[in-house]
Amino acid sequence: MDTMTEGNILEVRDLTVRFMMNEGTVHAVNGVTFSLPEGKSIGIVGESGCGKTVSAYSVTQLLPKTARVSGQILFREKEGTITDIAKLPVDGKEIRRIRGQEISMIFQEPMSSLSPVHTVFNQLAEAMILFQGMTKKQARERCVELLKLVGIENAERRVDEYPFQFSGGMRQRAMIAMALARNPRILIADEPTTALDVTLQAQVLSLIQEMQDEFKLSMILITHALGVVAHMVDYIHIMYLGRVVESGPTLEIFENPKHPYTRGLLNSIPKLHGKRGQRVSSIPGAVPSAYSLPEGCVFRARCSERRSACMYEIPRRIQVGSEHYVSCCLYDGEEDQYAANA
């Protein structure tokens, strides 16, 4: 029988995802571990291509057939029993129930994540009619209510419109409404603002935060900008090339970053009070290809503090604070130090 830490609603353990392509194997996610405490929010942060979306899709089995997933995805049901989502049959009844009632997702691209030939009402009401046994009329009232809640004006009229009649920001709001329509317990927001222009980003983010409070959701917020999640999430997981390289409470990450990559990301946040003309430093180099992973530490090539050990040793996960973990050989041995101090 699987066990979970008390208070966690979701625990992902050692998640590995590979894509078998004609050109070779893509190592998209390589042993990712994170947990989501009930009612809290966590941020998953990393550059493009590091496996954020693939990790998120695994949670509700949304990956295409070419994906090979291993590891555990433990979900605590309302009644307290634990389900390992990774073991559920593909598109079976169980996973569909979880998708339809427990874990909702907001997608990266609001433009193409809605069907262009079905009305907003049709797409919004679908899950309500299917899972909550609502009549069409009840679903309609609820849709209008939800659209109003996410800040769409003239909701009574707009609910019958098609997505292409909505602006980008409105579409993302409709997507949020659609995720909420299922009364989920977990909300996964995959870069919900990347496709929107800057003025809308803050609005949509604060809407998501409001909704999290309103619906008492546990939330996973995915982003590539560390600055964005700072005030929104309780815990942060930094990902690099399919691995979590550092994780801990938000404050801890900002005040006491350990991994050279985390420090690099923090330095690349534009500072409000920085001197004019001061260049925002960014991490040199690009993410290596996920087709052929380098041996040893995958961040090695871009690391300013690399050592000879980084060449062949895959860094262990080391505890450096009460809830603070880092995978970097700079901290080899500090685990004992932390344990001794505690």
């Binding site: 129930r97 909702s104 193409s112 262009p116 030939v117 899950a127 009649q165």
Partner: protein, 328 residues
Amino acid sequence: MLRYIAKRLLQMIPMLFLISVVSFIIIQLPPGSYLNTLIAQMRTQGDEINMEQVEALRIRYSLDKPAHIRYLNWIKGIITEGDFGFSFEWNRPVKTLIWERLALSLTVSVSSLLFSWIIAFPIAIYSAVKKHSVADYSLTFMGFLGLSVPNFMLALILMYIASVYFKFSVGGLFSPDYVMAPWSFGKFVDLLKHLWVPMIVIGMAGTAGLIRVLRNNLLDELEKPYVVAARSKGISPVRLIFKYPVRLALIPFVSTVGWQLPQMLSGEAVTATVLSLPTAAPLLLGALRSQDMYLAGSFLLLLSCLTMIGTLISDILLVIVDPRIRYE
């Protein structure tokens, strides 16, 4: 929607005019007229040629008048009393010849079209969903086989099978007893009994292509983000496929319906000849050969009209399946 249809109908009027002029020009293009053919025929049969008689015919059919007058008379007849002129070869008014033929043509074409859809849809959906499976490859292979077997070949094979194994006369669309009989329930049943051979032969030709188009449309759609998003709502796989990607894959397909109908009508010509079907194509062929101008012209005109109607129907369908067009 109604306004859109009305607009499209109005746009058809100048088009129709143009088509009627072109049809008329086409039938006037070859030098000489039916009378020349008649004279040549009489000569080969060794008959005495009575120039007076020929002259009388010329006047009776207004062949002495200039072309534009003949055109105007022809059109006037059609519009005012549905009179399409007189067929020299058959010695009967054109309108008594063409309607039944056209109706049979339409029956054959539409049933072939439906046949090819009924075959193509499930196969295309199945092989797209099971992409790169053994089933997908075998269906694709069979599709190519179907694509490369000529129509007449298939017609001959089916005729052979039907007559040898089912003791069934398969030429034509009716049994000998019914050919001249007026329409009755028995004749209708008899038609159905004969219809399947041309239906399969003509339908098969388009089926393979249709499967490819649909399968590829669907493959494009299956990967789109809206499918993943819909899947994340927890709806069942079958419902998901039919409600979203299949629906969208139909859009480019519907726009092909417009030219599929006329294509079927003309694709039918070879098969109709092989199977000796009493449809429009063989009659048109004969009329063109003997310069039976009013008959040929009327056929061209009506076939063009059918093409336009086909296009209109597919445009209307397109508006129904794709709301984005409605709001442009």
